[in-house]
C-alpha cells in the first residue's frame, strides 16, 4: 500500500485512483439508498398518531 498510487489525468483534473474509487463508491451508495426499498412495516391505512 505504500507504493505510489496510480493517477487519473483528465484535462486539468488530476485525481488519485484511491480517491476516485472512494468518490465512485459514495455516489453508488447514494444511488442505492435512493432506489433500495426501506425495510419497514407497511404503513397502516389512514392512521393518525
Amino acid at each position: 500500500m505504500n507504493a505510489p498510487a496510480p493517477y487519473i489525468h483528465w484535462g486539468f483534473i488530476l485525481i488519485s485512483l484511491p480517491n476516485f474509487i472512494l468518490i465512485c463508491v459514495m455516489i453508488l451508495l447514494f444511488v442505492l439508498a435512493l432506489v433500495m426499498p426501506f425495510p419497514h412495516h407497511r404503513p397502516k391505512e389512514h392512521r393518525d398518531e
Binding site: L22, V25, L29, F38, H40
Partner: protein, 209 residues
C-alpha cells in the same frame, strides 16, 4: 424524616410542574418538556416516509464516530489504522447525509437552523481533521503543516493558529475540536427530534383535519 414527609417528597418527584412554580429550573424544565418530551427524544413510531434510511443511518453513524473513535490511542499501528479508516467513514457518511438533506431540502418548515448547524458541523469537522493530520508525527504531518501555514498566514490568523506548533494542534485536535463537534451534533440531533423529520417536498401540511 417522618413517613408523611418522605412520601410527600416522593410524590413531588413524579408530579408535573405546578403552574405557580417559578425560577430558572422550572422555566428550563417547562421549555424542555414542551420542545422535547421524552416521547419525541425516543419515538417508537416514525412517519412512514423515512424511506431513505441512510438519512437516519448516516446521522446515527456520525453520532457514533464523532464522539468515540477519535479517542482511540495512537499506540500501535492497528489503532492508528482504525482511526484513519473511521475518519474516512465519518466524512463519507457526513457527505452522503449532506447530499440527502440537500436534495430533500431538509431545511423546510422551520428547519433552517438545523441545516445551518449541520453546515457548521461540516466545517468544524474539516478543522478537526486538519489538526489531526498535522499531529500524526510523520512525513505527511510535516508537509501538510508547512504548506497549510501559508494559507493560514495569509488570513492574518497565523500568529494565533500555528500549524507548526505540535502542542497547540494536539490540544485542539484531542480536546477542543471534538468537544465542539460533539456539542454541535447533540444540538443537531435535539433539533431534529424536537421538530421531527421534514415532510416530503410539495406535500404541504394540511390545515384541516
Amino acid at each position: 424524616m417522618s413517613d408523611d414527609a418522605a412520601s410527600g417528597a416522593a410524590d413531588q418527584a413524579t408530579q408535573p410542574l405546578a403552574d405557580d412554580e417559578t425560577g430558572w429550573t422550572a422555566s428550563v424544565r417547562r421549555r424542555v418538556e414542551k420542545t422535547l418530551p421524552i416521547s419525541e427524544l425516543l419515538p417508537t413510531k416514525q412517519p412512514a416516509y423515512v424511506g431513505s434510511f441512510w438519512v437516519v443511518l448516516s446521522g446515527v453513524v456520525l453520532a457514533f464516530f464523532g464522539s468515540a473513535w477519535w479517542h482511540v490511542s495512537s499506540i500501535g499501528h492497528f489503532f492508528n489504522s482504525i482511526h484513519f479508516w473511521s475518519v474516512q467513514m465519518f466524512f463519507i457518511f457526513m457527505v452522503l447525509h449532506l447530499w440527502g438533506q440537500f436534495w430533500g431540502a431538509g431545511w423546510r418548515d422551520g428547519r433552517a437552523k438545523t441545516w445551518m448547524v449541520g453546515v457548521v458541523i461540516f466545517t468544524v469537522s474539516i478543522g478537526t481533521a486538519f489538526t489531526g493530520y498535522v499531529i500524526q508525527q510523520n512525513f505527511d504531518s510535516q508537509w501538510i503543516a508547512i504548506n497549510a501555514k501559508d494559507a493560514i498566514n495569509s488570513t492574518g490568523v497565523g500568529g494565533l493558529f500555528n500549524a507548526l506548533n505540535f502542542g497547540q494542534m494536539y490540544g485542539l485536535h484531542v480536546m477542543l475540536f471534538p468537544i465542539g463537534v460533539t456539542l454541535l451534533v447533540v444540538l443537531h440531533v435535539i433539533q431534529v427530534r424536537a421538530k421531527g423529520v421534514v415532510r416530503p417536498i410539495d406535500d404541504p401540511m394540511q390545515a384541516t383535519p
